[in-house]
Symmetry: C2
Subunit: 248 residues, 2 copies
């Protein structure tokens, strides 16, 4: 496991080192709508990037903005302020796509970036070539629209959490989300799973402080709803009781 000082120097970036055929999210990602012949065009414009935990991939600035697929690992979509306050506006799991905003009139204030929460692999597509491919393959654009509309629903669900839920509801809701996504991606073996975020990141995602998150998790453990070994490894969860606590 690389330490963080070392990590800053080992970003690797490669151009299409292997065909999409070998990609672990070939079918579950956006790419799933393209045939093996069609996907060659996508492969031609793609390049991969590997990030270590804590490293950033910046989405700001409209000159070099790219679309991206998460091919492995977990990423945080982060928005920050100068004064240190930050908000994680989304988690990205393998097969998730990052669309950014498509318009060329993008405002410069879009201070949003992707931060690796684990060892992370991205498949990047430069903006303009990708847009041309969407014109050529309408199914691609259609799938992106469908996913974006879904993301909008998810973002609005989160607005309800941030605007109206209590601390214990927030933590329960967050854990449910993680458990569900982990199960969908097969990262959830019978021996449990690792929480993708530490306490500080959870706090930044659900709009609380580290201490409040910690206390709420302790309470869930005392109440037997959550069984853990150490601070990150979840052994078991009682989803029914968690759903009760999540409210709504």
């Amino acid at each position: 496991m690389p330490n963080s000082k070392l990590a800053k120097h080992n970003v690797r970036e490669t151009r299409a080192p292997q065909p999409c055929a070998a990609c672990s999210v070939r079918n579950s990602s956006l790419c799933g709508v393209l045939s093996d012949e069609e996907i060659a065009d996508l492969n031609a414009i793609a390049h991969r990037k590997v990030l270590s935990p804590g490293q950033f991939h910046v989405l700001e600035g409209d000159k070099s903005r790219e679309f991206a697929n998460v091919t492995s690992g977990i990423a945080k979509l982060v928005r920050g302020a100068e004064d240190g306050r930050t908000q994680i506006v989304g988690l990205l799991f393998p097969s998730d796509f990052i669309g950014g905003s498509i318009g060329d009139t993008g405002n410069p204030l879009e201070r949003q970036s992707i931060e690796a929460a684990s060892e992370l692999e991205l498949c990047l597509f430069p903006r303009e070539p990708f847009k041309k491919l969407m014109i050529r393959y309408p199914a691609l654009e259609n799938k992106l629209l469908e996913r974006t509309l879904n993301e909008l629903q998810v973002a609005r669900d989160w607005m309800v959490l941030l605007g109206r839920k209590t601390a214990s509801e927030r933590v329960a809701t967050f854990l449910l989300h993680v458990v569900n996504r982990m199960q969908n991606h097969g990262c959830h073996s019978s021996i449990g799973f690792e929480l993708p975020l530490g306490r500080a990141d959870m706090a930044d995602h659900i709009g609380l402080t580290i201490e409040t998150v910690s206390r709420q998790i302790s309470k869930l453990r005392k109440d037997g709803i959550l069984i853990m070994e150490g601070a990150r490894h979840v052994v078991d969860v009682n989803k029914e009781r968690l759903e009760e606590r999540a409210g709504f």
Copy 2:
């Protein structure tokens, strides 16, 4: 001005009473990407609906879900819980489009609806015919994608507000949004404008209580940043000072 009991009975619904040519948002809405000939196809599937303040247009249930354009008035996108807690996840101004989620696998929990904040006119498009038109006119789908990506950005901005901003920052941010949108839509004469939401709705949009919103507005008035006549009519705002208070 109809009282709310009367209002419940005068929903009017008509099928394409007049061509899109006469529509006040013909060019600023999604429809702007279609030529006069092409728009006839859209007109053929459209029907209009007029709502009085407080009336709902439900978006739940995947059988009859429709896409919609706001042609005049202002609407609230509302998500609610059984226990009375409610969150306004967006405001809709003339020319805004309501996409909902496009997938046919829509979850039934999508308890979201549109509530008229003023006299409101919607132009509704049944789901399936509209999707067919998007296939026929790719520019339509492209424009919808562009708008949806923008809405996602806006929703995530709001997540930062709800997760990390203080009460006074929230109120200032909200007022800035309203002023800017009002100016864009020409609803902002030199004699000022009416706030589109009452205190309770503002509270539900920015995640506060009525009382806190009221106190913050009183403070802005005392500080001379906001000049009002009565509780709803804004005579003038100092945008620079409001931006300072909005933070970030």
